[in-house]
């Protein structure tokens, strides 16, 4: 008989423990995560179907290698003057993106790899240059140690391009897919001809948890 009572009491205690109320709960009570460095060329722990770091890295690396192999851009004689900035990059895709991330990485890595075989015109710094030139010519500061020129550098080529995307949505499964196409074109600033072109494509597919669909 005593055993039966014990069984009943144990059962009640178990039930009561099982029905622990969660009326007032704090879910996010973990101690957080220490900062970790993640490889920029790989998909991170937080990701979607837009343009991410690994896309920018592999896209600019591929374009850089391709440009360095082009004899029109890299010649053994006179170094060509090139403008690479986001002024003529157009985003027609459905991904919001800071285009400077692509053009800055491309210009800087090219500049380092070309080692003088290409000269980059910093048109995005033209205001800075003009101010200093005015100070020098106004006599407020001296002429520096390198040289003085009548005009700033004109460019031979300038980069243009377009980012486009094609979205596909499965209304049944709510799976989302986005194909990106990024084109880069180097334009001769006198003739208007395109001396080099590059294209980078990628496609991502994902499906959110059902509680968010």
């Amino acid at each position: 008989m005593t055993n039966r009572y014990i069984l009943i009491i144990v059962s009640i205690v178990t039930l009561m423990t099982g029905c622990k109320s969660n009326d007032s709960v704090t879910y996010d009570n973990n101690a957080g995560k220490a900062t970790i460095y993640e490889p920029i060329a790989q998909s991170g722990s937080v990701s979607g179907i837009g343009v991410e770091s690994q896309d920018i890295v592999s896209m600019t690396d591929q374009m850089m290698r391709d440009m360095l192999r082009n004899p029109m851009l890299v010649s053994s004689g006179i170094s060509r003057r090139i403008i690479i900035d986001s002024e003529y990059m157009v985003n027609e895709s459905t991904s919001r993106i800071n285009k400077n991330m692509m053009t800055d990485r491309l210009r800087i890595n090219l500049n380092r790899a070309a080692n003088g075989r290409m000269v980059f015109v910093g048109r995005h710094f033209s205001n800075m240059v003009m101010k200093e030139r005015e100070l020098k010519r106004g006599g407020l500061v001296d002429s520096g140690t390198i040289r003085t020129t009548k005009a700033t550098a004109g460019a031979d080529y300038r980069l243009g391009g377009r980012i486009t995307s094609l979205d596909a949505l499965d209304t049944k499964t709510q799976q989302k897919s986005r194909y990106h196409q990024v084109t880069f074109e180097m334009v001769d600033l006198e003739l208007g001809t395109i001396v080099w072109s590059g294209i980078y494509e990628f496609k991502k597919t994902a499906q959110d948890d059902i509680v968010y669909r």
Partner: protein, 410 residues
């Protein structure tokens, strides 16, 4: 003999009492209302961050930290809207961007999403990402900030992304019908110098708003006025499992007129946000919540039925002085109580958190600055045309390519 029967009667009474008490305790410990979430304590760093924010946003940032990750997106969206209404475009842009980064993150194998699917936690335990109409509105506001900053391509990307959030409505005719975003995608394309993309968006818009006059290529003034209050989410049905939408309470403003030195012009009512919220239809997660509600009901009925059987068996066995009958009734009772406890602790309640400073209606108009002088004031009117109040634009971005004027009444 009498003593033995008396002993048995005492035993059965004790068991009944024990089971009754246990049932009361077990069921009593179950929750009835929505889950209440504890606030987090702000760390010194959090507090410094809050103090670094403009005074009008400090309370909202305080809430952001107190409510933690679960409501982070919701709080960021509300902060963004508050900042926009103060004309603080940088703050608004940052808040909407942070919110969108989380909205765009694909949640797979997320701990709190798994929890929200479980029987024992309500849907509201998940990290808030908003319903499609809220996500679309997040893209709308992010796009407005881009427009203001003349980043037309990113503005267009935002508006198109907003349209795509609306692509999963249950009824086919309600899919991707966010006319406001189509109009703004067309406007952005026009301003970024892509007439073919602009035409594409405007052609789509014509299908939904045939009476709207498509902006001329010479138009350079964009006016956007918002009126009314946010759609509300309510939980209906047994266990509050059914998510329903209601229009904001006591909405007076229905029309907006723009006052300029050249005269007054009616703004076109382009979008009904309540319609966007309520026309989505059923969500895939509703099936899960409905399943929870069904489990709750079944377990409750099963438990109640067993308890009744146990009570009757207890009375009969007590009357006959049968020990085994009493034990069987006790077992029935225990299973009944367990089943009722499971029912009482299952959480089918739908998530009713909503973005509370959205408008009810959005009105638009475009002009050519050579024909119409700069807008001065938004005049809000009720359904009968009587003026309720007026307000100066809170977002003013004037340039040669595009001037944007925006205001909200709520």
């Amino acid at each position: 003999m009498n003593l033995k029967r008396q002993h048995k009667m005492t035993l059965s009474t004790a068991k009944s009492l024990l089971l009754g008490v246990s049932a009361t305790i077990v069921l009593g410990c179950a929750s009835t209302g929505p889950t209440k979430y504890k606030s987090f304590q702000l760390s010194e760093t959090d507090q410094t961050y809050v103090n670094s924010k403009p005074l009008y946003l400090q309370e909202s940032y305080n809430t952001l930290f107190k409510e933690g990750k679960r409501n982070q997106v919701l709080n960021l969206l509300q902060i963004g809207k508050l900042a926009l209404d103060k004309g603080d475009l940088d703050e608004a842009g940052d808040s909407f961007e942070q919110a969108l980064v989380q909205i765009e993150t694909v949640y797979s194998n997320s701990e709190d999403a798994n929890r929200a699917r479980s029987l024992w936690y309500e849907e509201g335990s998940k990290t808030f990402k908003g319903e499609p109409y809220e996500r679309s509105m997040a893209y709308y506001y992010r796009g407005l900030v881009y427009l203001y900053k003349h980043e037309y391509d990113n503005a267009r990307a935002s508006f198109i992304s907003g349209i795509m959030q609306d692509a999963f409505a249950e009824e086919e005719q309600n899919r991707s019908d966010f006319a406001l975003l189509m109009f703004l995608a067309g406007w952005s394309a026009q301003k970024m110098g892509s007439p073919s993309l602009a035409k594409e968006a405007y052609d789509e818009l014509k299908g939904f708003r045939p009476d709207f006059v498509i902006p001329s290529s010479a138009d350079d003034i964009l006016i956007i006025g918002e009126s009314g209050k946010s759609p509300r989410k309510l939980a209906d049905g047994l266990g509050h499992y059914q998510l329903v939408y209601r229009r904001g309470k006591k909405i007076v403003d229905k029309r907006i007129v723009m006052k300029t030195d050249s005269g007054e012009f009616d703004l076109y009512p382009m979008e009904d946000i309540f319609w966007q919220a309520s026309s989505r239809g059923g969500r895939p997660v509703d099936k899960i919540i409905e399943g929870k509600a069904s489990f709750k009901k079944t377990a409750q009925n099963f438990g109640g039925g067993l308890s009744n059987v146990a009570n009757e068996a207890m009375i009969i066995s007590g009357g006959l002085g049968s020990v085994s009958g009493t034990n069987i009734s006790a077992a029935f009772s225990l299973i009944g109580v367990a089943s009722m406890a499971l029912s009482a602790n299952s959480k089918p309640r739908a998530d009713t958190r909503y973005w509370n400073n959205l408008p009810d209606l959005v009105h638009v108009k475009t002009f050519n600055s050579k024909k119409v002088s700069a807008p001065k004031e938004f005049i809000y009117k009720d359904a009968t045309g009587s003026i309720t109040h007026s307000k100066r634009p809170t977002m003013i971005g004037e340039s040669t390519n595009q001037s944007i004027y925006w205001s909200t009444s709520n």
